[in-house]
């Protein structure tokens, strides 16, 4: 499959159909695995690196977890296509830089992706819509079992799965949920919420994971420690915190609607008006406006607009998506015009 085809569809996680989808965008599980017989990617060069890349590709295809046409070598992809894969949450920012032998395997509906030769030999990811960390872990574990039959993972009975960075050693598991928390941001309760999470060993990150800023009020919460607990308990612990955050966000939404109904309605409808009529839209501005719109849809301020439609605009209006779909590279200024055209055309009249 060509990357262009991916650009016309939406991954399962963007369907807006999963549990608690008014606040929870997606649940994600990532497993870090390395192969016993090769040096880790940081020390893997030349012929050995090439051999490792081929070995990984052959074994992954042999395991049949993905189709050969969905195994993409990043070297063969343009910078634009690689950035598209980041926007799509199929590869990390670090992986985007390319580098010899790096690849990504993408499963059906984009639920599964496997990065080859990122920080670790393999980074397996399962991404599902809404709050379903346990189900997401279950799928990840079964794919891991399949791969385990074809690849020999570096493992030590005491330290578990050995990873390039000791912060991932043990289970190699990072479970995260992407949350939309506009009301906690507006009511300035977000810092308090994050402090509470830090205290119980959870990380809070921006939209695209490690080292990225939060934009559009989207935040990713994930476990910090990967050793000394079973995968199930790591997943359960994270899963237990999320309902509390949901309650907090929903109560902040109710407070806003109760106390400042006009002001919040005004904010939402202004966002709609800007999106529906603006002629130039930067990606930052679009993100901020869509965040307000999303709040409006889920708080019942805006009716007749499907949550999936907002998600669709949100993903398709990103820079690389716009360019891939247009079939060419487009300078930023021109892109902002194209973005405004796209949003106008896709946002229904209400």
């Amino acid at each position: 499959m060509q990357i262009r085809k991916l650009a016309d569809s939406l991954g399962e996680w963007l369907g807006g159909t999963g549990p608690e989808s008014d606040v929870v965008i997606s649940s994600r599980v990532r497993l870090a695995r390395n192969l016993e017989r090769f040096n880790f990617p940081a020390r893997l060069e030349g012929a050995e690196r090439a051999e490792c890349a081929t070995h990984i590709r052959e074994r992954i295809l042999e395991s049949k977890v993905v189709e050969a046409e969905n195994y993409f070598l990043l070297e063969e992809r343009s910078a634009l296509e690689r950035h598209f894969l980041v926007e799509r949450h199929l590869i990390s920012k670090e992986h985007e830089d390319g580098g010899a032998g790096r690849a990504v395997a993408v499963g059906a509906d984009e639920i599964l992706s496997i990065m080859a030769l990122e920080e670790d030999h393999l980074r397996l990811q399962i991404l599902k819509s809404g709050l379903q960390p346990v189900e997401t872990w279950r799928i990840a574990s079964s794919v891991d079992d399949l791969l385990d039959r074809h690849l020999h993972f570096a493992f030590n009975p005491q330290l578990g799965y050995l990873t390039s960075c000791p912060t991932n050693v043990g289970t190699g598991l990072r479970v995260s949920v992407m949350l939309h928390l506009p009301a906690l941001v507006l009511t300035r309760h977000i810092a308090k919420c994050f402090q509470a999470m830090a205290k119980i060993g959870l990380n809070v990150r921006g939209l695209y994971g490690e080292g990225t800023e939060a934009s559009g009020d989207f935040y990713q919460i994930s476990n910090q420690s990967t050793l000394g607990k079973t995968e199930e308990s790591i997943v359960r612990d994270l899963g237990a915190v999320v309902p509390e955050v949901l309650k907090y966000e929903r109560s902040a939404r109710r407070t806003l609607l109760h106390r400042d109904k006009r002001r919040i309605e005004d904010r939402v409808w202004r966002a709609y008006a800007m999106l529906k009529h603006a002629r130039i839209l930067s990606s930052d501005e679009t993100m901020t406006l869509l965040s307000a719109l999303r709040l409006g849809v889920h708080a019942g301020i805006i009716e007749g607009l499907a949550p999936a439609a907002v998600n669709e605009i949100f993903i398709f209006s990103q820079p690389a998506h716009l360019q891939i779909r247009a079939g060419r590279e487009i300078p930023a200024a021109e892109r902002d015009v194209l973005r405004a055209d796209f949003v106008r055309a896709h946002l229904p009249s209400l």
Partner: protein, 178 residues
Amino acid sequence: MICENCKKHQATIHLTEIVNNTKKEIHLCEHCAEKQGVVKQQMSIADFLAGLASGGAPAAKHKLPDVRCPSCGMSLAEFQTGGRFGCADDYTVFRERLMPLIEKIHDSTQHVGKVPARAGRSVQREKELRQLQAELKRAVDREEYEQAAQVRDQLRRLEEQAEGGKEPSGDADQEAGR
């Protein structure tokens, strides 16, 4: 609201303390809160790497021993700069320096999660043993003696199995040399 400590930044951390029935409110910016130890700062990878030299005490300036991994050639100093290991053997070569730090990050030095199929049943059984031992301790602590007795019996059965050597030879060896 402005931070009452530095009087410069926006206060984002608001605390309520009750001392001798008197309520006191404190408003701090993130930076000052962190400095005053109000917000627990998690160990960052930078702290982790800085702590390598001293085997735990962060940021102490000790000279790193000049040990290199025979498999990948990585030295501790190189690891400290790059933050990534070069191969699986580094965990063994640098074990002494690494373990106290791993314990700091994860609050544990023992994997209890999933095990690759080919690592064999022995690892799996060790894992079950550890889980049962922990369960036994929990049950005793909570004075749930009936539950404790059940767990103890399970433990005994598992230990007997191990001693009886009923298990087929570990399949890990089959793949050796790959």
